[in-house]
């Protein structure tokens, strides 16, 4: 008897582990780890088990962007604060920088939309919001681009290496005043934020730790081309006492001390959980995952894998408010849309509170409920309303006699239209979308578009194409 039960249990375990995640599961996974998903991407993941699906995502991570950056990113640039400029020259320089800043935002948003590994961009954005620098203070778009390249390279790499690299990153060194930190005149900005916001979190260090750590970072500087340079004559070679240890520490020593504290693994794990899973982590999961992160020497991939395979992740549908880029880029991805103008989309995201490359302050975007207030919610709805308004009229052109969709005709129409438009920007085509992806019923559309049932129930007789607009405007579309 006992043996039979055991055998049964053994037989059931792999079954559960290998069952396909289905469309709802695939939509959930792709929406959380990327920016929306079109029904074809969902169909690709639906038959996979949780483990297969997560491994597939992790096997496809990339380390550089596919979209070519604007040409100016590698060109020499004027130093901010160059003396003896006339008012007109200053204005022209500022205008050029603003122009570049806009192009840079458009470049990244486009990469989020087309990247074969949206997870890479999702994690790049996570680190951008954790190891924060912002254009307003950094001033030089080229430096923000270089930092973005670094964040992507280590997005699913190693947090320890990333921390060491970001401390020497020119944008960061300007943003948190490492460049103004010298022997005898310490600037504590970086030393404070590296402990408070990047590694330990408040309450896990003393003011003395900050003061002494600032001395350790002295001598880290930028040369005339804004590249990292160590200036020994500016370094404070005296003994420092940090976390009770005494020695002639330098900046890398301090970062290693921070990485040796398990609290750092816990702090980062907690933040990643809130980004990918839910606003309310449970203690057991956090303990398990941060222990793993620490043991694996801050390798990000195994942490991500364990987090995405935790049962809590698969029960968290609808618990996160979509960020502005998740909402806007995600909607474009879901409906295969190419925006006519990335600048307009960058401006929209700025209005919605997420101006990429320029977080509000060193704490980054607080996220969660704070994305939504009366203004931002109405602006989100206007964006979605305009998309539905501008959509091609629904004529049920591809509905067949038996209520099924004529996929072939839908595709042909799409190709004809793309050719006619010279492959230029396209607008939402509910009929084609429904035909190509077999979105026959309102229930099909709901499963593909929403994480939770709509707050406004749909009329029973709606078909898939008709359901798109009401589903986009439903409050449930704002969460995932």
């Amino acid at each position: 008897m006992n043996i039979v039960i055991r055998l049964l249990l053994l037989a059931m375990l792999p079954l559960q582990a290998w069952a396909g995640i289905g469309e709802a599961g695939a939509r959930h996974l792709l929406s959380r780890t990327g920016f929306g998903a079109n029904p074809a991407q969902i169909a690709l993941y639906a038959p996979l088990s949780r483990q297969q699906a997560v491994d597939r995502l992790l096997d496809h991570v990339s380390y550089s962007a596919l979209t070519a950056p604007p040409a100016w990113v590698n060109e020499p640039f004027e130093r901010p604060g160059k003396p003896n400029l006339t008012e007109d020259e200053k204005k022209a320089l500022q205008k050029e920088r603003n122009e570049h800043a806009l192009e840079l935002r458009g470049w990244w948003l486009e990469e989020m939309r087309i990247s074969p590994s949206p997870l890479t961009e999702k994690m790049t954005l996570f680190w951008h919001n954790h190891l924060v620098s912002g254009l307003d203070k950094v001033g030089v778009p080229q430096l923000m681009y270089q930092q973005n390249v670094l964040l992507r390279k280590q997005a699913v790499g190693n947090f320890g290496q990333l921390l060491h690299a970001i401390a020497r990153d020119p944008a960061m060194m300007r943003y948190l005043d490492t460049v103004n930190n010298r022997k005898g005149q310490p600037n504590e900005n970086f030393a404070r934020e590296v402990m408070e916001l990047f590694t330990l979190g408040e309450g896990h260090y003393s003011e003395q730790d900050i003061r002494e750590a600032a001395r350790a970072f002295t001598g880290w500087s930028l040369d005339k081309d804004f590249q990292f340079v160590y200036r020994p004559n500016l370094h404070d070679n005296g003994d420092k006492t940090i976390f009770g240890q005494q020695g002639n520490f330098d900046g890398d020593d301090v970062l290693d001390m921070l990485l040796r504290k398990p609290q750092t693994a816990r702090f980062v794990t907690l933040k990643l959980w809130k980004y990918l899973v839910s606003p309310t982590p449970n203690e057991a999961d956090i303990q398990r995952l941060s222990a793993l992160f620490y043991r694996d020497n801050y390798e990000i991939r195994p942490l991500l894998r364990a987090m995405l395979l935790s049962p809590a992740f698969w029960n968290s549908q609808g618990q996160l408010v979509k960020s502005p880029v998740e909402l806007t880029v995600g909607t474009l991805v879901t409906f295969d849309l190419t925006p006519p103008d990335w600048r307009a989309l960058a401006g929209l995201n700025r209005q919605l509170g997420q101006d990429v490359f320029n977080p509000p302050n060193v704490k980054g975007w607080p996220g969660g409920d704070s994305w939504i207030n009366s203004t931002t919610l109405l602006t989100r709805k206007q964006f979605l309303d305009r998309l539905s308004h501008d959509a091609a009229p629904i004529r049920n052109s591809f509905v067949m006699a038996d209520g099924q969709m004529d996929e072939q005709r839908g595709r042909e129409a799409r190709i004809r239209r793309l050719v006619q438009a010279g492959l230029r920007p396209i607008k939402l085509q509910p009929d084609e979308w429904a035909a190509i992806y077999h979105v026959n019923t309102a229930a099909d559309a709901t499963r593909l578009l929403l994480a939770v049932p709509p707050a406004q129930p749909l009329p029973a007789d709606m078909n898939g194409a008709q359901a798109i607009a009401p589903l986009l405007l439903d409050p449930a579309y704002q969460v995932h």
């Binding site: 008012e87 307003d136 606003p279 609808g318 618990q319 996160l320 408010v321 209005q351 509000p360 302050n361 704490k363 607080p366 969660g368 409920d369 704070s370 939504i372 207030n373 009366s374 203004t375 919610l377 109405l378 709805k381 206007q382 309303d385 939770v452 707050a455 406004q456 405007l473 439903d474 409050p475 449930a476 704002q478 969460v479």
Partner: protein
Amino acid sequence: MFQRREFLKAMSAGLLVSVLPNLSYALAPAGYQRLLVLVELKGGNDGLNTVIPYSSDDYYRLRPSIGIARPQVLQLSEQVGLHPAMQSLLPLWQKQEVAVLQGVGYPEPNLSHFRSIEIWETASASNQYLGEGWLTRLFRSQPTPPGFAADGVVLSSQNLGPLDGGARAVVLNNPQDFARQAKLAADQQAGAHSSALSHILKVEGDIRTAASALQQPVMKPPANPADAPTAPPKAVGGFAQAINTLADILQNGTRIAVARITLTGFDTHGNQQPTQARLLGELADGLALFKARMQAQGPLGTTPWY
């Protein structure tokens, strides 16, 4: 050269005062019978060229080029006077309806512009990060009565400022637009939702409440223009438009506790004088306009909305 200082001005019944954030507790007991209007001079107004210490030799010594010449200063006392562009506030000053509070700040000022505003709007300590604006905290402990369209309306800005983080605040540039857009907000549905969805439904509810209150027909007969003591100054510019929008919705009987209007453009890194003169002129004219419109709508002191 000079110390940039962002300061808020609050006006109640034509009374211009700077309100310290931690005075918020003092506002509540009145039961929101008075309307608090906050005007944000965005970009860092030069306070020493707004209320000018014209009797100080140091002022002229330290400001050889951007100082305001003594004869042009609108004298308020033997020590200080207003920028010449603020002529329209003088009649209010003479009727003792304007007060000036100088040197408002907080200990250990943070020199980051962005962080300074955050401290200002959340009334936090210099080294403390708070997620809620000081008015949001006030309205949580002292909720506005039923029937209020919103805790506050925000004009000429997308930023909720001290109303951020939970207050029932709506951004209102054009009430008609708002009413139209508000149709995009869903009716609230009862039922169990995740906290994320509940928050969205709450905000949709706030929008609909405010929109339906704003759409109510005019409750009061229009005031007899002959009763108005002086013709209101002409409304020019975005600030005056915002003032008129606010006066319009109050005239409609819309009940709110706070309004916040932003006048932007003070971020003058060079060539300050003409820009600041224009902006301070807009500010003074706008405040005088508001006073005139409120007076025209009903005797001050008997109507609760001013």
